[in-house]
Symmetry: C2
C-alpha cells in the first residue's frame, strides 16, 4: 500500500505542475489529475465526475469539463473524438493510436508502432499540424471471445 507521505508528495507534484502552467491548484483540479494519473480507461467527463463525487460532493460537471479543456490546452492530456457519443479523455498526451470497440464502447491504447503513427510533421502541404489522432474501430479481444461471429 502507498504511504501517507507518498501521497502527499504526489499531491505536491501535481500542485506544482498546475502552478507551472499558470493555473491555480484547487482541490478539484488536483482530484481530477490524481484520478486521471495512470488511468488507461479513457473516461468520459461523466465518469470522472461520478468517480470523484463521493470524495468531493461539491464537485460539478461543469468544473470537470472546464478543467479538462484547460488541461488539454496546456498539453497535459488529450481529448479524443473517437467515441461518437461523448468526449473521452486520455491522460497520456503523447501521440498514439486508439481503438474503440463498437460492442462494449471501451477505448484502448494501441501499442506504439502498431498502426504506425510517425511523429507529426510541422506541416503537410500548407496545413499547419498541431495534433494527430489515429482512431481504429472494430471489436476488442474480450468481445470477440464472448460473441463468436467471424474470427
Amino acid at each position: 500500500m502507498e504511504s501517507k507521505q507518498g501521497r502527499r508528495e504526489k499531491k505536491n507534484e501535481r500542485a506544482s505542475k498546475l502552478r507551472r502552467l499558470g493555473l491555480r491548484a484547487t482541490p478539484q483540479r488536483l482530484a481530477i489529475l490524481a484520478f486521471l494519473e495512470g488511468n488507461r480507461n479513457h473516461p468520459s467527463a461523466e465518469e470522472i465526475y461520478q468517480a470523484l463525487k463521493p470524495r468531493f460532493p461539491s464537485l460539478s460537471l461543469a468544473t470537470v469539463y472546464s478543467t479538462l479543456e484547460i488541461l488539454e490546452r496546456a498539453g497535459e492530456i488529450q481529448i479524443l473524438t473517437i467515441d461518437p457519443e461523448r468526449r473521452r479523455f486520455d491522460p497520456d498526451p503523447t501521440p498514439h493510436a486508439h481503438f474503440y470497440c463498437r460492442l462494449c464502447g471501451r477505448v484502448f491504447d494501441l501499442p506504439p508502432g502498431e498502426p504506425v503513427l510517425e511523429e507529426l510533421p510541422e506541416e503537410i502541404e500548407g496545413f499547419r499540424v498541431e495534433k494527430i489522432l489515429l482512431c481504429v474501430y472494430g471489436v476488442c479481444p474480450g468481445c470477440r471471445g464472448r460473441h463468436k461471429e467471424g474470427t
Copy 2:
C-alpha cells in the same frame, strides 16, 4: 453544362446502386446521394438538409440522419468523428486522412500517403479492425494567410 440525359443516367445509376444494396430508391435518398457525389466539403447532416430542402421541401432531418447511417453501413460513405461539434460525412469510403481546421471548422481530405495511412490490417494484437480514421488538427492554408500568427 450537363445534358438532361446525363442527369437521368446518373439518377438511374444511383437507383440501381441503392437496390443492389437492398434499399429502396426513394427521391430523398437519390437526392442525398446526388448531393454527396463529388462533394469534398464533408458536410454535416444539417448542411445536407439545408441544401436539399429547397428542392425537397418535405425532407426531414431525421430522414437525412437515417439515410446517412444506412449508407455508412452499406460501405458507401464514411461518417467522420473528426469535428468535435458534429458528425461530418464523406462520400469517399476509401481510407484517407482528414484535416480539421480549428479556425474555420472546415474538413479537408489530405493527399493519400501524406500522413501514411497504410492499408488496414485485419487485426492488431487481437483487436478486429473494421475501420481506421486518421484525423489531423491544426490551421488550414487559407486561415494561415488571414491570421498571421506563427508560420
